[in-house]
Symmetry: none
């Protein structure tokens, strides 16, 4: 789940980002309204956390502008003020929920979950290849109904494979997709990670999905020949 958090207080922003990341979200931080608009336009976020008091363009305006552009990502407003009028303005501007500072982190998380849950059916992001299922949102993987634990890197690797089933991915492609760009000389990181991935998704099962194409790369098979 990708979140855009717009909060100009750096300390609060930092703390929140840590907590949200910890909760499994991919969090981008923006610090003023203009930045927020640019980011929100550029990338598809699953939700926005939007402070009202912001430099350049305030949160209400950001929200209105997004709605005018038919960007209907769920928006959770944060504000220090709490009068009826404030709430009305917030929600009228197009926000979906509204949270008053200071708030408990747990409440923020809960409201966020609610917001995302409501939005869930809109998005069909579950990846399925053969009897493998990967949910990028919940960061879960299972094969044949059995859950599989994966580290961040392994998860990313599997996701890459599952987004290109039956396609050969060369080491170079994988490396440039998951690792930094300036790969130099020979390293067998990819081999090692493929191996580790196999340990999790293939070794315990009869049919192997991840196959080696000697001299070329690797491939995730959707169907057995």
């Amino acid at each position: 789940m990708r979140l855009l958090m717009v909060e100009d207080n750096r300390r609060l922003s930092h703390v929140l980002k840590l907590s949200l990341t910890d909760a499994g979200y991919a969090v981008d931080a923006a610090y003023d309204g203009r930045e927020a608009l640019d980011l929100a336009a550029a990338a598809p976020y699953d939700a926005l956390i939007l402070d009202i008091m912001l430099p350049s363009i305030d949160g209400l305006a950001v929200c209105r502008t997004l709605r005018e552009r038919h960007v209907n990502v769920p928006v959770l407003m944060l504000t220090a003020r709490d009068t009826v009028a404030d709430r009305v303005r917030g929600l009228d501007s197009g926000a979906d929920d509204y949270l008053v500072k200071p708030f408990a982190l747990s409440e923020l998380l809960a409201r966020l979950r609610a917001l995302l849950r409501r939005d869930a059916p809109r998005r069909a992001a579950l990846l399925e290849v053969a009897d493998l299922r990967l949910d990028p949102a919940n960061h879960t993987v299972e094969r044949d109904e059995r859950p599989i634990e994966l580290t961040t890197k392994l998860f990313a690797l599997l996701e890459y494979f599952m987004r290109h089933p039956n396609q050969i991915l060369t080491r170079e492609m994988i490396e440039s997709h998951l690792w930094s760009y300036d790969y130099e000389g020979a390293s067998n990181v990819v081999d090692v990670y493929v191996r580790r991935l196999r340990c999790r998704i293939d070794d315990p099962f009869a049919t192997k999905l991840l196959e080696t194409v000697r001299g070329v790369g690797y491939r995730l098979r959707a169907t057995r020949p």
Copy 2:
């Protein structure tokens, strides 16, 4: 090779165009996202060089839109920013590579070459001869709907035959095409590999496609005479 370069900075655009033209590419320049989409839709380019920051529609959106329309021309993104999030966004939007400004021209050219090289097989058409099908991209071969496993060399050999159906290929031609060294004394590598290829694509089937032209070479028949 036809390139579409989308960059709103006129000076940079001009310089780049000169250099790329100099490097042997046919370059069209666009200066904003809308123009880019229109041009990309109208003409088949071999690659796009796409700045992220653009007027009207930004590069990420351009890229996404193209992908949604199943235009899978290779895209090289240019950007002034460089965080992991930027990269992820760039690549998630469907870009194939990502270059951070300022960059060395030589690196741009190198990445471009890599992109075009990598993409070469992807866009190559599926080869079909008789009931044989060979997909250079996925490194797969099937005959009569039945998949066939081939090693690298055998694959290359079959591809060579399929690119020249009904044509006699002499041993010298095959040898100089698949083995770099020039035909020296006697070696029957070619014979051996043709044999191995037959094991896979002819032996299990009734009609034989790979035939020997005694004293001359071999030929892959598309149709029975």
